[in-house]
Symmetry: C2
Subunit: 326 residues, 2 copies
């Protein structure tokens, strides 16, 4: 066979164009990919009985364990620990006071032995007491420089390549993509637009109380060390209603904290799609579900199987997890 | 002079195309229109030193008295009074209990004599106790049928034609338009998309608490008779930060309730634009400002003049107020 140079070049170009147009490249041709594409075609084809107009194509994504990793600990907790260390010189009393003393010694297990109260103390000491602009800068600086404890990668590299492709695929099909996370709304907003293409106004999360004030004649919003709203479990449908005001037609999660979001999504009229990412890949990522303290998936898995929601087996269904892997 | 038919037709077509492309037709060629256009050109021209990228072109609009009228009383209060009448058969005790008894007798002045407490009682009795879906339907039915007490028009016709043109003009220039109102977020959301082209997820407002529940195996969100957040005065920057997470570059209001929103907008870097609609037209609309209980504009007017914000004199600057007027 003899292919002339121009034809060969054209063939190559055509091939790379096809590749670029091919959605969900990091997804294997197993059930989840087929189910995603079939749902999207069903709601976007004008002649389909399940057609959904563009403004109603709302898709909500959990963050920790769904868009980026969450092991060995929620990354925002690691951020808080780093902040405790950075703030310690201004708080000499922390040396002898739990949970701060243990954080400063690097003993995270002991630091968190105090349960929710200890975690709340750490969050309030690190997330409150500054203006919104100051906190923006703190979160941005951290995400640009801090490294994951076991992979040594930037946290913004610890995002799932298949999920980035999925966000992109949905947006190309007229969906508006939202993050709906138990994590802090203001911790995510400064950098998620660059990483996921999701603007701040499409981020829903947990929040602390704030106060509007004049400071030297300039208005500021001060972050108070007091919880305002926890956007998890029953909180997710509430957060969705409060921020979006429309019911999603598609929802994506990985833990029991996302179950009520899936239930709320599924209870609407017309075609619906809910997906659980199941962490099954101890080699490329982590493997955990019903017995994990982080991202526990138990009741959600039972209900997903019962109701026929899509379940992604990371190991089987993704040919790539992180973009830095081969 | 002799113009041939085809040339004449072409001239007419060209003229009507120019007209269609001409923005802000209901605005006279006075200062406010010029200031709006000059600001928009400044932030949208690539080569301008004040150029703002599209995702950051956030514009926030107050609702009552800014996009639609608010006299003789906030329209949502009139909605609440109508609901008291509709619900009265289920509440025989209201006949002898204030403020309900006065509402049922049509004596609004006496009904509101109890001040904020009375108003809150009325709001809670009419806005709480049902699911979000049920309330959606109640608000939608009302907006489709209820008539304004003095003009006899539908409330959705009591919107300012110049402001509709302004919303449209900003969106055509890459702005994302938000409502930021002291009114109830869930009262506005079911119908503002149709009336203003603003989707539910771009509405910020006051809210009551809600609860996620399973009812006969179906998830519902129940509206509780308890205030959650008041999106007025200092609440507006807080609501903006919580819902949008970016500072607006342009803000539009008509009362002292919008002052902090303007201050917050103005305190950002780069070009900024803030506008007050001043109700000066007793013939085509209403004339009121510093002594009004509804939409009081006093401190805001002083600060607007001091800081050089744009002030619309309805009578002088708008050649049309409502689309149903000549």
């Amino acid at each position: 066979m003899n292919i002339s140079a121009p034809v060969f070049t054209l063939t190559l170009i055509a091939h790379s164009l096809t590749q670029a147009a091919e959605p969900l490249l990091s997804w294997n041709d197993t059930a989840p990919k087929k189910e995603i594409i079939s749902f999207v075609e069903k709601v976007t084809k004008k002649e389909s009985p399940d057609f959904v107009p563009i403004p109603e194509r709302i898709a909500t994504f959990d963050h920790d364990g769904c868009l980026w990793a969450e092991q060995p600990m929620y990354f925002q907790a690691l951020f808080a620990f780093d902040r405790i260390k950075a703030l310690a010189p201004q708080h000499p009393e922390w040396k002898d006071k739990e949970p701060y003393a243990s954080v400063l010694k690097g003993d995270m297990k002991k630091a968190l032995a105090g349960g929710e109260k200890a975690l709340l103390d750490i969050v309030m000491a690190t997330h409150g007491g500054m203006t919104t602009e100051e906190f923006d800068k703190i979160a941005t600086d951290w995400i640009k420089t801090a490294k994951h404890p076991t992979t040594g990668k930037l946290y913004s590299e610890m995002v799932y390549q298949p999920m980035l492709e999925l966000l992109d695929y949905l947006r190309k099909n007229g969906f508006k993509t939202f993050i709906v996370s138990g994590g802090g709304i203001d911790f995510m907003r400064p950098w998620v637009e660059e990483v996921y293409g999701i603007p701040p106004e499409q981020v829903v999360g947990s929040s602390i109380k704030t106060e509007f004030k004049m400071r030297d004649g300039k208005p500021v919003i001060v972050r108070l060390p007091k919880m305002n709203f926890i956007n998890d479990k029953e909180g997710k449908p509430i957060g969705i209603q409060s921020h979006i005001g429309r019911r999603p037609i598609a929802s994506f999660g990985n833990s029991d904290g996302d179950l009520q979001m899936h239930q709320w999504t599924q209870a609407g009229n017309g075609a619906r799609f809910s997906l659980y990412v199941h962490h099954t890949d101890a080699d490329r990522e982590w493997a955990y579900d019903r017995d994990s303290h982080i991202g526990k998936l138990d009741k959600g898995l039972v209900e997903a199987k019962e109701k026929g929601w899509t379940i992604v087996d990371m190991k089987k269904d993704w040919n790539k997890v992180f973009s830095f892997q081969d």
